[in-house]
Symmetry: C2
């Protein structure tokens, strides 16, 4: 019945998202692939208490149809939070609670994109963003990243060449997949560019609270004077993913369009979990919880950086993330990280990662990979990095010309 | 910034869904508009206990990223449930848990529809389905309802005339907005027609368990031999809406396409509530809860039917629903139910309903309205129907030619 499917669905190409979690039956397998948070850090008791508080306080009405925009008290807390940690001034009526950050991206794509529309994305970029944009069949323009974030000269060249570009997607804080953070100067310049070329910016910030060296930088949204920046964040990484609660800040016509497509998409998110998150934030200092988490994640990050220095071949270069979950490793040209993982490293060394192709809209970069340290204890990271480093050394050696 | 919005979003037309809940500050106002369930019937204590059971049993892992398809144990229960109450044979891997039934409709539209594709819908039909389909810019073909469901001769004429029609949307059980139920014979004939004309059927059944005269009929899906019927239901009406848990059954390429667009849309639904619903069904007989609810809803339905007989003018005809939440009232030609409500009935009598236009893709029927009895006590229904009936009598009298 393939002939009845929409063009946006290519039944012969499986979703890159679906391949993010390769399974290895070996119990000693180490996966650097999944970007899942460390569930040992989840505040289970406090969240259980918060569910009980929410249900006992609000009773039956909590379980009724509620609000397409989401729990008002929680939106008010988010207004205060983004003012404090992102220097963004907004109001509760500008916030929409979404089913994770993923739905936020999809709603923005749905509100803005017609088939063939030009959009600009950082490369490499978040796989799930490409999956969401793919649904709306855009024409992608890839803009490279530099050590301090998006290459703004390359972006401007793209905007000059494709003046109808509607949207730029960026992950400015502890970027997925590279760990790179955009400088404050570039944030400000980026908004000026967007104003000049009439582009909407989708600022996706699921990791912004997870810095291991410093507190969060001002959001790109804080420099927005025309309501063209959509700020998106989530509780998935700072609390728990299965609460499925993301949130976005938008203005004017864009906000109205997002609300309209949201209502048509699923009416509303899960009000019970919104109320539980709100009760959790009433009873607990979430920043204290985040500080507890970052202490652990920093140790994991450090174990990975030690492993990169100790075990990886000279031909491999890598980023040094100041926060978030990810490191990006670039191998010499000619090494295919995809083939290497599936043919050699996963079956022989029982280590997995996500190969670079998945992070590029045209799947045209092969000699790089993403490593996630978020879900693993430091000693597991050390052991996995040792095995992976040995394999990469062997692969690079095998690919080198014999003198 | 309207020029940057997608064509699917018309910023000048507000969503009909958003207007479903007109507010009246008068405390004696009676709203027959909202199709919300009666929250006095919500099993709050049992569901609270179920949340605690789920959290205590599964701990931190419950809050991790889980499964795009949704909780396996719950999907297995739904397999057994639809076998028993719908005579559908399926497997857990064919079930997808969605964010309410609304997301199920949107995912089907996303998986199947390109702009301009032909789709057939019953008229009148569910407002939210039109909102979801609108996102994918189809060409609608309206097929009238008869007392025993869809007019199959009219459907066949449509399919002959528009042979590329991809999808038929139907609510066969206690239909929203009319309360009509499709006969078993028509269910079987409908599948034969769909086979002949290569059409997918979306069978949307949020009310199928809420019969006041008999147990549910076999699902249309039970007659499906080619995997072209998508069965969709929800816990919103039989348990609680804010759990935001719907579910669908699909096969083959269609299932794969739905899973793909689901992953890209929001990764997964809220696993915590899935586990809570599963724990609720382990600890309670949900059919006993449904029987308790239908006893009350039947009293509410009966109060509305008594009110229709006692207070409504002779010129008004109405359906006699055997289940669900709704009654459909047709007024004489020339009476505009929309104008009447906003200009006269709401401000003067403080009674609201949903005018017919919202249920037609072309908004071209004006002399009818939907009344919902689901959220109101019998005595409130009686009082509201009395006030509404008096207003309709006056309106019909005023519109009649003077002899």
């Amino acid at each position: 019945m393939k002939e009845l499917l929409a063009q946006r669905v290519n039944p012969d190409v499986s979703s890159a998202l679906a391949g993010l979690f390769p399974k290895d039956p070996d119990p000693s397998a180490v996966t650097f692939a999944a970007g899942s948070p460390n569930e040992q850090l989840f505040p289970v008791k406090a969240v259980q208490a918060a569910f009980n508080t929410a249900i006992e306080t609000q009773g039956a009405h909590l379980f009724q149809y509620q609000s397409s925009q989401g729990n008002l008290a929680l939106r008010q807390k988010l207004v205060a939070r983004i003012a404090k940690w992102g220097q963004v001034t907004t109001k509760a009526e500008n916030i929409v609670l979404t089913v994770g950050g993923q739905q936020g991206i999809e709603l923005v794509a749905k509100a803005l994109l017609d088939p063939g529309d030009d959009i600009a994305v950082e490369v490499p970029t978040y796989i799930g963003a490409l999956a969401a944009f793919d649904l709306y069949q855009p024409h992608y323009h890839a803009v490279p990243l530099q050590a301090d974030g998006l290459d703004l000269d390359a972006l401007e060249a793209t905007l000059k060449r494709y003046p109808k570009t509607k949207l730029l997607y960026t992950v400015p804080d502890y970027h997925n997949p590279t760990g790179i953070t955009m400088s404050v100067a570039k944030r400000q310049q980026l908004v000026a560019l967007a104003n000049r070329y009439n582009v909407v910016i989708l600022e996706d910030t699921p990791y912004r609270d997870l810095g291991y060296e410093s507190t969060p930088l001002p959001a790109i949204k804080s420099f927005d004077t025309e309501g063209r920046v959509i700020f998106l964040s989530s509780f998935s990484k700072i609390l728990m993913p299965a609460l499925r609660t993301g949130w976005l800040v938008a203005d004017g016509d864009i906000l109205q369009a997002i609300l309209k497509v949201r209502l048509a998409s699923d009416l509303e998110a899960t009000g019970v979990t919104h109320a539980a998150i709100n009760a959790y934030m009433d009873a607990n200092d979430i920043d204290q919880h985040i500080a507890h988490m970052t202490t652990h994640y920093k140790q994991q990050r450090d174990a990975m950086l030690r492993g990169l220095a100790a075990y990886f071949p000279d031909g491999a270069t890598y980023t040094k993330p100041a926060g978030g979950f990810f490191d990006w490793v670039t191998l010499p040209q000619g090494i295919d990280a995809d083939q290497l993982m599936y043919d050699v490293i996963s079956p022989q060394a029982h280590v997995t990662y996500v190969p670079a192709t998945n992070f590029y809209p045209n799947r045209d970069v092969h000699n790089a990979l993403r490593l996630s340290f978020s879900g693993l204890a430091p000693q597991t990271i050390d052991s996995g990095m040792h095995r992976l480093g040995d394999q990469l050394k062997a692969a690079i050696h095998a690919a080198s010309p014999v003198i």
